[in-house]
Subunit: 304 residues, 2 copies
Amino acid sequence: MEMLTVGTVAFDDITTPFGRAEKVIGGAGLYSSIAGSYFTGPVNLVSIIGGDWPKEELHALEERGVDTDGIEIKEDGKSFFWAGKYHDNMNGRDTLATELNVLAEFDPVLPEHFKDSKYILLGNLTPEVQSKVLDQLDNNTELIVLDTMNFWMDIALDALKAVIKRVDVLTINDEEARQLSGEYSLVKAAEVILTMGPRYLVIKKGEHGALLFGNGEVFFAPALPLAEVKDPTGAGDCFAGGFLGYIAKTQDTSFENMKRAIIHGSAMASFCVEDFSIERIKGLSEFEIKERIESFKKLSHFDL
Amino acid sequence: MEMLTVGTVAFDDITTPFGRAEKVIGGAGLYSSIAGSYFTGPVNLVSIIGGDWPKEELHALEERGVDTDGIEIKEDGKSFFWAGKYHDNMNGRDTLATELNVLAEFDPVLPEHFKDSKYILLGNLTPEVQSKVLDQLDNNTELIVLDTMNFWMDIALDALKAVIKRVDVLTINDEEARQLSGEYSLVKAAEVILTMGPRYLVIKKGEHGALLFGNGEVFFAPALPLAEVKDPTGAGDCFAGGFLGYIAKTQDTSFENMKRAIIHGSAMASFCVEDFSIERIKGLSEFEIKERIESFKKLSHFDL
């Protein structure tokens, strides 16, 4: 009953320079809950799907330690669908189709046994839905992480700011940090954003790593240089899920432990991009994860 | 007699979102020799200037521990001049003017007492000029670093490959690594480039840090997140100069020491961008440098 994540459970159609995955399972809730499940369990997943989403994948989630009681199933509806195509350099992507389907009516209702969750990940959704999840939680939370994007800054800034005010950690990318703060320097952007409510700010820079600001300190985690990046979809969600799963496991929200959590999140993201959909992250061994974490240390540590 | 650097000593006219510096002193040779001089000395500087380059700045260089005997002065000529304007986000820049002037006739002749230099930095110049410097050196070199750019890949690839074959370390940016290798993944690009001659490859990513490949290993040094970046000009040269200066000081070309050298180079680059021209790097204290190096450790280290 420790970690709760709310986010899409969906279908994706993804084209990258390395191939295409047609109508594969995806969504921020799916990615983040699987990533978190390697460190803590059960992970309480709040989402909505249509009757078309494969039941056997729900069972697989349960077996992996994800509590799917918070997934509303609209049997006569269709699941959220996103189609996108990545550019040759993988740094940009074009959205080819977005079909909200059942997501348009998403009005999350938390099962009773989800309400005492301590570590909360609010995946990228409308600020109203994110707020509604917070409203239903007991006064028992230890750390609330909010993931969002420029889209909500463009069309719902006030609602977004209201929910940002209620969280402990905000995760956005560098351009979004600049947009939200009006400052180009990420150091200055962080200063501004940390007056908006959160204690910590995580700036995700994709293949360029991630920055953690808070507590008057700053920490940088590199992305692991990989020989093969097949599909970046879900990397940010695996990052957030691994990050919060590690915090839930260790029950420690100090800056020092946040640093370790960022590395654990980065490790989960590095697995995610090595294959399409959840292929790479669905059956990781403890040894693989440990080895990957060690490689981050080897990558960035030096003796003076 | 340990470190030698060859590169431009010039005038720059620089416009950034933070202001303009008209006809200030600059050039890769200037930046790299000053950066190196904090760790080793004297630094042998090979370059060419016109009669217009300020004599008092030559004296200042000498006082700082740069041996300027290798700077040819064409009293009736004009120094190399570059004018550029940085974009609002500082990530890109447009060249407004390039006047080769005396650089067009640069045919470097090394003073006798430069020829036994052990640590060599070949700044970004024509591959022919870089080769000519190598030809004059005694068989005494410990480490040769080559800095170059896409321009030479476009117009003189064969000559560039010939000089790359003769060096130990190649420093280029990520796009250049992709262009030179034909591989998008930097891991694969490094594999290809390390078959071309160099033992080590440094990939400079500007505000996103630097990667070191070699010895079957990889190391990543972040760029320090700075509140103020006034002018990125010379950062890459300060990086290279600080890197090689540290190697010259420690006389150790192991991968472990290369990592420390990369951090020292990154520290010098971080100072460089804090002001225009050489303003910030011309009078650093030992304490400032030590403190800056420590901040890199704090930024990137974590305990598992």
